[in-house]
């Protein structure tokens, strides 16, 4: 039972019961402690339970709390007998049973949460919490005791930052780092090499402020890593499919980008040129518009003084000239104005007619020109066709002439021609044969090569696919490994945290011990059982033997008793012996039964004595007295009131 008590007490302490260190078993639990522990348990299990944490002084209040506690526990599904007396007049075993039930019912969320794998964020939060706790526990120090607000303290002492005077903004500048200096295959210009070895400052000395070194390094690193990843992705997706070597692919991409940029630039330049041109045109238009509008406005009365004066001057001049001219015409000709007008109109008419006549003639000429050029083209075509027919005819003529030449000696010539024809036919046949001869192997070769190349291509494709698959797998495996690493880290951290919880291992050890003990006891019980069985068997055997020997001797002596007096006596003695022996055996058995009963009774007495009946009775009587007193007090109050 001690183990159980330990477990119960431990779990009660875990949920926050105030149990003193020297309490090691339930026997030592006082009534107050029991009540507070049970209430704490109930509250943890069900947060709605509304009970005071400690036992009140009044007897009736105590009674009420006891009954409500019992009711709550029964609600939770407790099957034993339970009432207020269980808590107020406690009995160790009952209390143990109740507490075991309650501890079993305690929510196990906390345990489950521990078993869950903690995420990185939880770990981070934990470290934040522990660091904060550490810093909260340290005492305040005046700022002038810190250099750049960095201190060396804590237990164990460590560096920590308190304050903000040393903070600086993230400011990254470009760092120049030589690369591949030990790679003998790489060719570097001499000047660059000498710059690297002589003038280039070391990395930590490149930024203007030393503060920026770390941020610059971080940024450079991040950009390099992302560039690498990007490149890898691209190479996996597009690069491998293009079947170019890495350098070629890069070259191609570079060209492509350059071309695109160039196109873009060209387009933009063009567009901007267009725009500028249109702007110019617009400007011109606007200018013209503005001028014309100004001109328009000047014709109206509104205008600047300048235009007014201009108008005035010009108007005067015009009037002058007009008057002069008018004077002249008046002096020179005696014709009326109408005549002059008519004359002029007629002149204009004539000129107009002339112009239209000229225009129509011009059009006619144009038309003729066009006609002539078309006819020229036609004629040229005709000429060319005539030329070709001419050439054909000439050829026909030469052939005919030759045949005519050959005609006089016709037969000979025919034979000759025949032979020539035959020869050429033969030559053609032989040539065709030769061609065939050459052709066949060449075609075969061509087919073979074609097959080979297609095979190679398909193989290449297959390999490409394999490579792709491998890359994918590689990535997966790498990811997996990374995940597992992270997992491992978390678990290690978790484990380190867990070691504080010694109880668990102690419990398991104890449980194992208990189990082994039980096994041993079981073995003992088994051996005892076997022993008793053997004894029973022996007893049975012996009684059987006894019975048989008795009957045999009984018969023997009985037979002899008819004849012999001594035998008769002996028979009587035997019967008496048998009887008394049986009596003896039955007494022995009875004593055994009585002994067992005594033992049982003793056990019962022990149990009863454990139940603290006497003290409980005393308590009950005292409580009863108190109740009575309270009641009388209340009655007295009532009476006073009335």
């Amino acid at each position: 039972m001690e183990e159980v008590d330990h477990i119960i007490i431990h779990s009660l302490r875990v949920i926050g019961c105030d149990i003193e260190e020297d309490v090691t078993n339930l026997k030592q639990f006082s009534t107050e402690l029991i009540v507070s522990a049970v209430i704490r348990c109930l509250k943890v299990i069900n947060s709605d339970v509304d009970l005071p944490n400690s036992l009140p002084g009044g007897m009736s209040a105590k009674f009420r709390i006891g009954t409500s506690m019992a009711a709550h526990i029964q609600e939770l599904g407790y099957r034993g007998e339970i009432g207020y007396q269980t808590f107020l007049y406690s009995n160790e075993q009952e209390i143990r049973r109740v507490l075991m039930f309650l501890v079993d019912k305690l929510p196990k969320e906390t345990a489950e949460a521990v078993e869950e794998v903690l995420g990185a964020s939880v770990l981070l939060q934990r470290t934040i919490a522990s660091t904060l706790a550490q810093q909260l526990n340290s005492v305040w120090t005046p700022p002038y005791l810190k250099q750049n607000s960095i201190t060396w303290r804590g237990s164990p002492p460590h560096w920590q930052r308190e304050g903000a005077s040393s903070l600086c903004k993230f400011h990254a500048s470009h760092l120049h780092i030589p690369q591949g200096m030990t790679d003998l295959k790489r060719k570097l210009p001499k000047a660059l090499r000498s710059y690297y070895s002589q003038s280039l400052p070391y990395v930590t000395n490149q930024t203007v402020h030393h503060n920026d070194t770390s941020s610059s390094v971080i940024e450079k690193m991040a950009s390099e890593i992302t560039a690498q990843q990007e490149w890898e992705n691209e190479w996996n997706q597009a690069g491998l499919a293009s079947r170019l070597s890495e350098q070629e692919y890069r070259e191609k991409k570079k060209n492509k980008i350059r071309k695109r940029v160039m196109d873009q630039l060209r387009q933009d330049v063009q567009r901007s040129g267009d725009f500028a041109a249109s702007r110019k045109a617009q400007d011109l238009q606007q200018m013209i518009d503005s001028i014309s509008s100004r001109a328009g406005s000047s014709t109206k009365t509104k205008g600047s003084r300048f235009t007014h004066t201009e108008q005035l001057i010009f108007a005067k001049d015009e009037e002058k000239t007009m008057s002069q001219m008018g004077g002249e015409s008046e002096v020179g000709q005696g014709h009326s104005e109408e005549e002059i007008q008519n004359q002029r109109d007629a002149e204009v008419e004539g000129l107009r007619e002339e112009v239209s006549g000229l225009v129509s003639r011009l059009e006619q000429m144009d038309l003729e020109m066009r006609k002539f050029t078309a006819s020229i083209q036609q004629m040229e075509e005709v000429v060319s066709t005539q030329g070709s027919t001419n050439a054909e005819k000439e050829e026909a003529y030469t052939v005919k002439k030759r045949t005519l030449d050959l005609l006089p000696d016709a037969e000979n010539n025919i034979a000759k021609l025949q032979s020539v024809v035959d020869g050429s036919a033969q030559r053609l046949v032989t040539l065709a044969n030769q061609w065939e001869k050459h052709r066949a192997p060449l075609i075969d070769q061509y087919r073979e090569l074609k097959d080979l190349s297609s095979k190679k291509e398909s193989e290449g494709e297959k390999k490409l696919e394999e490579i792709k698959a491998f890359r994918v797998r590689m990535k997966e495996v790498a990811d997996d490994a990374r995940h597992k690493d992270e997992h491992l880290k978390q678990l290690v951290a978790e484990y380190e945290r867990m070691t504080k919880d010694v109880n668990r291992s102690a419990y398991t050890q104890r449980i194992m011990e208990i189990v082994s003990n039980i096994k041993k006891q079981k073995d003992g019980i088994n051996t005892v059982l076997i022993d008793t069985r053997a004894v029973q068997k022996e007893i049975n055997q012996l009684t059987g033997k006894l019975d048989r020997t008795f009957t045999v001797t009984d018969e023997l002596i009985f037979r002899n008793a008819k004849k012999d007096e001594a035998a008769k006596k002996a028979y009587r003695h035997l019967a008496a012996l048998h009887e008394s022996c049986e009596l003896l055996i039955s007494t022995v058995e009875e004593t055994g039964v009585i002994m067992r009963e005594i033992r049982e009774l003793e056990d019962q007495i022990e149990n009863e004595s454990k139940n603290k009946v006497l003290s409980n009775l005393e308590k009950i009587t005292s409580d009863y007295q108190q109740m009575k007193k309270e009641n009388t007090a209340l009655m007295a109050k009532m009476k006073q009131r009335s």
Partner: protein, 196 residues
């Protein structure tokens, strides 16, 4: 921790005893760590005569690799074991790995503080001066009789040397409100620190 190929290449130079002789290695390590941490020693390596026989260009590359590795490891709070694996990949010998890791562990806190210094923050209160004045009367009122607290918060402002004052005056209620707010903030911190 992930390192770029360039950094791995330069770290391999550090690991190669042909380029960085054994006697120079510790000097290089110290120079790299101190160069990162201490602004006065940022250029210490260039004046060091121990590196007389070493090709300066290669040394610069190696140094840059070391510095990058140190900063990256600090940034990720890398464990000694994984750092060991990285260095092994860069062909470091066991002795060199050990020397590196011991130097790293020794300066890790300082390095982390150094990286933690990168950032922005509102002014940080480090101290407070106060004065209680009693305001008796003014030209409008014969009797005012009020307590006035003059508070001067001492703050550290990043980028400014010394301590900056933030001064204000307040009545008792305002001060109580202010103190309550501060207490709330403290409680908040305590809650966070207790939530582990």
């Amino acid at each position: 921790m992930e390192l770029s190929q360039a950094v791995i290449d330069s770290l391999s130079i550090v690991g190669d005893s042909a380029h960085v002789p054994n006697k120079c290695y510790q000097r290089l390590l110290d120079a790299a760590f101190d160069g990162v941490v201490d602004s006065e020693q940022r250029n210490r390596i260039s004046g060091d005569e121990a590196f007389g026989g070493v090709d300066k260009a290669a040394l610069k590359e190696a140094y840059a690799g070391l510095v990058s590795c140190i900063i990256e490891a600090t940034k990720h709070d890398t464990e000694a074991a994984s750092l060991e694996a990285v260095l092994e990949d860069c062909k470091f010998t066991a002795d060199r790995i050990k020397a590196f890791i011991s130097s790293y562990q020794e300066r890790k806190q300082i390095l982390q503080i150094l990286l933690g210094n990168v950032g922005v923050t509102p002014p940080h209160i480090v101290d407070v001066d106060w004065r209680l004045d009693y305001y008796i009367k003014n030209n409008h009122l014969e009797k005012v009789n009020q307590a006035v607290y003059l508070i001067s918060l001492k703050t550290e402002v990043p980028g400014k040397p010394g301590i900056q004052d933030v001064q204000f005056s307040c009545t008792q209620e305002q001060l109580q409100d202010f103190v309550g707010k501060l207490k709330d903030a403290t409680k908040c911190l305590e809650k966070i620190s207790a939530s582990q």
